[in-house]
């Protein structure tokens, strides 16, 4: 589980160190894409906790969600209606749902594993 966390940290550091400029017109799209990415990552984390994580589902979800969020934003821009707010709300609800599930799952594991040790942590590479 350390490698993805390392990747995330590396990406953040790179993003802060680099001098890539996001054009003003694209800021909305990247914001929604980031939201989709967070949602997908949390969803993946939850699936991992439920022990039903699947890479292809995860990847397709990541890209499809991001793409559709961007598409929605584009359509909203075209129509002059802030449709992307719908995507923002949907992602936010899912993010909160996932966070809640992860929180409960981790707490349950902690309570259950209080006597048994940290053996229940899934997804760790041997």
């Amino acid at each position: 589980m350390w490698l993805p966390v390392l990747g995330l940290l590396a990406g953040i550091v790179l993003g802060f160190l680099s001098s890539v400029e996001i054009p003003l017109g694209v800021v909305k799209y990247t914001a929604i894409a980031i939201l989709a990415a967070i949602d997908t990552i949390l969803g993946g984390l939850r699936a991992q906790l439920e022990d039903r994580f699947d890479l292809s589902i995860f990847l397709s979800g990541f890209f499809a969600n991001t793409f559709f969020a961007a598409l929605l934003t584009a359509i909203g821009d075209l129509l002059g209606v802030d449709i992307y707010l719908g995507a923002v709300i949907a992602f936010s609800i899912r993010i909160f749902g996932n966070v809640g599930f992860i929180r409960r799952d981790l707490l349950e594991r902690y309570w259950r594993g209080a006597g048994r040790g940290p053996a229940g942590e899934p997804g760790r590479a041997p």
Binding site: M1, L3, P4, V5, L6, G7, L8, L9, A10, G11, I12, V13, L14, G15, F16, S18, V20, E21, I22, L24, V27, T30, A31, A33, I34, A37, I38, I41, G44, D51, F53, L55, F58, L59, F62, A119, P122, G123, R124, A125, P126
Partner: protein, 252 residues
């Protein structure tokens, strides 16, 4: 999944982790870039990016308005410059014209002038007429006055007036009975002719031997000529008629 020794399982998990790492790195990179950009925008513009579009619209509007105003300013400057030029030219021309006009008015006798000169005083002869004498020999005729005025002009007088009547180019001296008309105005003796010019020259010319004054004195007319450092010749009060003559354009 819990620490399975299966080699395929190990490879699969590590591939999964690698993919996740790359994905998360991309997401982190994107998020960090976005945050950095947003911070940069806020730091530089002190405006959150959500309002940028609205502000951009306002800015475009203002820029258009400014361009229009700049054009207006340019037009107004051009106008002002034209006006200033015109005013300067007009002023210069007006100055020349008014100077010309003033000079011509002085020359035409339409302005009262002052200066040194001579005063010639003439009167009818006080000699009593004897029976049989010609009364013409004791009264002044317009020709006498004309002769004096001519002598004054000839000796360089600038302005001449007879009894306060300015002698101008159209002035004619005529005789109606015992009175003399000057500028169609009736005059009666004594006559006081005021001339502005070089006093010495005027006096010398008028008093010359064989001159008109000598002749008048010889006939017994009281003639008095005095010089004065400052005499005033009044302005011509009449009008100029100029009905038929037209200026002729002379080739230079």
């Amino acid at each position: 999944m819990l620490g399975s020794p299966h080699p395929l399982r190990v490879w699969k998990i590590s591939r999964l982790q690698a993919t996740l790492a790359v994905l998360l790195a991309a997401a982190g990179f994107l998020a960090a870039t976005q945050v950095r950009n947003e911070l940069l925008i806020r730091q530089q513009l002190r405006v959150p990016s959500q309002r940028l579009e609205e502000l951009g619209f306002v800015l475009r509007e203002q820029e258009r308005a400014r361009a229009a105003l700049e054009q207006q300013i340019a037009a107004l400057r051009e106008q002002l410059r034209a006006y200033e030029q015109g005013a300067a030219q007009g002023r210069a021309r007006l100055e020349v014209l008014s100077r010309d006009l003033e000079r011509l008015r002085v020359l035409a006798g339409l302005v009262a002038v002052a200066g040194p000169g001579v005063v010639v005083e003439l009167d009818d002869s006080p000699q009593p007429l004897r029976p049989g004498d010609d009364p013409n020999t004791v009264i002044l005729h317009y020709t006498d006055l004309q002769a004096v005025v001519n002598d004054l002009w000839a000796s360089g007088a600038d302005a001449v007036a007879i009894n306060g009547e300015r002698v101008v180019v159209s002035t004619g001296l005529t005789c109606v009975g015992t009175t003399i008309l000057c500028n169609a105005k009736r005059m009666a003796p004594p006559y006081r002719i005021v001339a502005i010019g070089n006093p010495a020259a005027l006096q010398a010319y008028l008093s010359r031997p064989g001159g008109v004054l000598e002749a008048l004195r010889a006939f017994g007319f009281p003639v008095k000529i005095t010089t004065a450092p400052r005499l005033v010749v009044p302005a011509y009060r009449g009008g100029y008629r100029f009905t038929f003559a037209r200026p002729v354009e002379t080739p230079p």
